[in-house]
């Protein structure tokens, strides 16, 4: 009893306390956006949003809504901090990343506010680990101003076949060209590498397509180096939504199913390649 009250008192110091039965859930989602060392964490009563950016051109957001946690208490309206994502993932997997069925590491995460470290407590089969990770001054994150009102083309498909296409992307090609069109070839991914060009065409009638809403033909190129990290998110997802807006900005939203049946979302925004060559050869 005394211990419980003591713990409750301790928790009062924190502005954020989140508990999760299985730390793997969190690490799986965070892995999907782990293409840069540091991430910015936004905590609000709706949950956590973790943002990773690269080259001011691509942004990945992972959403861990409050319902994913068994307990999620936040005393302030919003808490923002930057953290070393590699270290955070290492701590979450401190009991090993291999999935022993039936054995899960429980997680309690606490944050005391601006300037204080993020504390993680992990427990697996009576073994307790305390981690304290220094937090950093948060940076401003990019605002892609991607509003659904400006979306021109939108495709929702099962991730399975896109995984294959993304895995086989010709890395000697500098750009990935995405064609979305109400007519043939409907949805085409192309690369232009040393050995020649490669196109993957997806028919709109394919049973892999869940929604196909393309209003006009759009051809946009994106840097392969910027797109490639999304493979991680794609790999763990079941569905993907591909959208482009009137500026050619690309939004990829990945739906990731958790072990307990809940779903989480990871999204990628990417800017198009400026110098869209006039003569893109087919």
């Amino acid at each position: 009893m005394a211990l419980l009250t003591q713990q409750a008192e301790e928790d009062e110091h924190y502005i954020l306390v989140a508990k999760m039965d299985n730390a793997r859930t969190m690490s799986n989602i965070l892995k999907a956006i782990h293409f840069k060392e540091t991430a910015t964490v936004f905590a609000s009563e709706r949950g956590l949003k973790v943002t990773v950016e690269d080259a001011k051109c691509v942004q990945a957001n992972a959403f861990l809504q409050a319902e994913v946690f068994q307990e999620f208490i936040i005393k302030e309206e919003q808490a923002t901090f930057k953290i070393n994502l590699t270290v955070l993932l290492d701590c979450l997997n401190i009991f090993g990343s291999s999935s022993n069925p039936g054995v899960t590491a429980a997680l309690k995460m606490c944050y005391g506010g601006y300037g204080s470290p993020l504390k993680l407590m992990l427990e697996e089969e009576g073994v307790l680990t305390d981690c304290s990770i220094k937090t950093l001054e948060p940076d401003d994150t990019l605002d892609f101003n991607f509003s659904s009102a400006n979306v021109i083309n939108k495709i929702i498909m099962k991730s399975e076949c896109l995984k294959e296409a993304f895995n086989e992307l010709d890395m000697t090609s500098e750009v990935l060209q995405i064609v979305m069109s109400p007519d043939r070839p409907y949805f085409r991914l192309s690369t232009f590498g040393n050995a020649g060009s490669t196109h993957s065409d997806f028919s709109k009638d394919s049973d892999m397509m869940e929604a196909f809403n393309c209003a006009q033909t759009q051809t946009n190129r994106y840097k392969v180096s910027l797109i490639k990290p999304s493979v991680k998110a794609l790999a763990s997802s079941v569905r993907v939504s591909i959208r482009t807006d009137n500026r050619g900005f690309l939004s990829l939203q990945f739906m990731i199913k958790l072990d307990d049946g809940q779903v989480c979302f990871v999204e990628y925004y990417c800017v198009p390649d400026e110098d869209l060559a006039e003569e893109y050869d087919d």
Binding site: A195, S197, T198, S200, S203
Partner: protein, 475 residues
């Protein structure tokens, strides 16, 4: 040119490309009347591989000759090479291809000068690969299987099991053909320190083979890497592999030709006998030990432990080898050996020109050489055993271990040491020896490619390292 591979065959085709990719860096593609030929040659031109897929392999096959003739009679039939890596990306994941690809179309886009591979996958997905190519002449190795006195055919599984026993970094393997058995052992370069060498030797009884024809006792040394490549293909297709060879220095041909829809041949250079004194020595030793080997079962009748017999055989051969080297030492001092070798290798060069050459096709008769590869083999002395294990070996002096198809025997340094290093104190001198040319280069440079004649000469000057070694030992 246009051909369509049905779904069930795409995997075989992809596997062939994977195997070819292990050998060469460029894929030579040539549509012929009797099928699509895929060929490659390795960078040192010591290995050549060719797959011919018959029209029956395809759902649709058009070699494009008719079309081209009508369009432009000047235009020759397509003969091109493409980068192996780019072709490999088309067939990158064979498991995915097997699962998803319904058919594969290969065609030529003359306007864009691209070779087009189209994979029609399930769920209405179409993957198009436009690969750039270079027009080139026919790549053709000159070899003939029908004149080879030695031949055997074995299941791919048997051969892969054998090859598995050799270390992964093992570059060459020696195949010793005798009337009553086949021995395979790793080829050991003039390694200065015998402690660092592992000798592996396997014996195979003729009943292990589907066909077995031993015309001449011989010993051929060839690269293992390329053999592994074709075995990988044969194992997946579960087809038997046959080998045809003559003697050291003459190419060995491994072929897969039991499927009417396709045929695969791989021609490997073999090491010439009189390359160095050590080769002589080893050759001598094996020839010397041969009678011992044969007589052994009669003297030590019914020895049940195969391996114990083997170890004594190999230790005798070790002893012989050393004495062989001694012989050489007495016969020739270092410089004389060098000279002699240069001469012999020069004469060898002439002989070896029957290796590969790029045949310039004459007036569209581009597949002239092809005939030789498709010639029938000599009637093989067939000894097919329905159940090799049920049949006790009668004629063979070797007592096979019943359930062990491949008998592995590694002669560790510990067991062989006493025989191998008679002048133990000279060890240090051996260490000082100038390291020789990398084994593979010395090996490869000997046989093929006229273009390499110049590099051959320089490399062969470096080759007789052993002469120095023997000098040191003498002093």
């Amino acid at each position: 040119m246009k051909c369509i591979i049905p779904g069930i065959n795409v995997k075989v085709f992809g596997r062939a490309i994977h195997s070819l990719a292990k050998i060469g860096e460029e894929l030579y593609l040539e549509p012929l009347e009797h099928g699509l030929a895929l060929r490659t040659v390795n960078s040192s031109r010591s290995a050549y591989a060719c797959f011919v897929f018959a029209p029956s392999f395809f759902q649709h096959y058009d070699d494009g000759s008719g079309q081209l003739n009508s369009q432009d009679s000047e235009e020759d039939v397509l003969r091109c090479k493409i980068n192996m890596k780019s072709c490999l990306t088309v067939f990158k994941s064979l498991s995915t291809i097997e699962r998803t690809v319904d058919r594969c179309k290969i065609s030529l886009n003359l306007q864009e000068s691209r070779l087009v591979f189209q994979l029609y996958c399930r769920h209405g997905i179409v993957k198009t690969h436009n690969l750039s190519f270079i027009e080139c002449e026919t790549l053709q190795a000159v070899f003939s299987k029908d004149l080879c006195p030695n031949a055997f055919t074995a299941q791919a599984k048997l051969l892969s099991d054998i090859v598995l026993n050799f270390q992964n970094n093992q570059e060459e393997v020696t195949l010793i053909m005798k009337p009553d058995k086949v021995l395979l052992k790793n080829y050991v370069e003039d390694e200065p320190d015998p402690k660092k060498v592992v000798h592996t030797e396997l014996g195979l009884d003729p009943i292990e083979f589907d066909h077995f024809q031993s015309g001449v006792d011989t010993e051929v040394t060839f690269c293992l890497k390329e053999l592994r490549a074709i075995l990988a293909f044969a194992e997946v297709t579960a087809l038997p592999v046959s080998a045809h060879f003559e003697s050291a220095g003459k190419p060995i041909v491994f072929s897969i030709d039991s499927d009417p829809n396709f045929e695969g041949n791989i021609v490997l250079a073999t090491l010439a006998e009189d390359l160095s004194t050590q080769d002589n020595a080893t050759q001598q030793s094996t020839q010397n030990s041969q009678p011992i080997n044969r007589s052994m079962p009669s003297t030590a009748a019914k020895r049940t432990s195969y391996s114990s017999k083997k170890s004594s055989v190999s230790s005798t051969s070790f002893g012989r080898r050393v004495s062989g080297e001694n012989l050489e030492r007495k016969m020739a001092s270092g410089d004389a050996v060098k000279e002699r070798q240069e001469k012999s290798s020069a004469s060898k060069l002439d002989e070896s020109t029957e290796g590969f050459r790029v045949i310039k096709p004459m007036m569209g008769v581009n597949n002239g050489g092809e005939g030789s590869t498709r010639n029938g083999r000599v009637n093989l002395l067939t000894r097919t055993e329905e159940d090799p294990w049920a049949q006790p070996s009668t004629s063979s002096p070797v007592i096979p271990l019943q359930n062990n198809k491949h008998l592995l025997h590694s002669v560790g340094a510990d067991t062989s040491m006493p025989e191998v290093t008679p002048p133990g104190s000279d060890e240090d001198d051996e260490e000082d020896m100038v390291p020789g040319t990398p084994p593979s280069k010395k090996f490869k440079s000997l046989f093929f490619g006229l273009s390499q004649a110049s590099s051959q000469a320089s490399q062969q000057k470096e080759a007789p390292v052993l002469a120095e070694e023997t000098d040191d030992e003498d002093s």
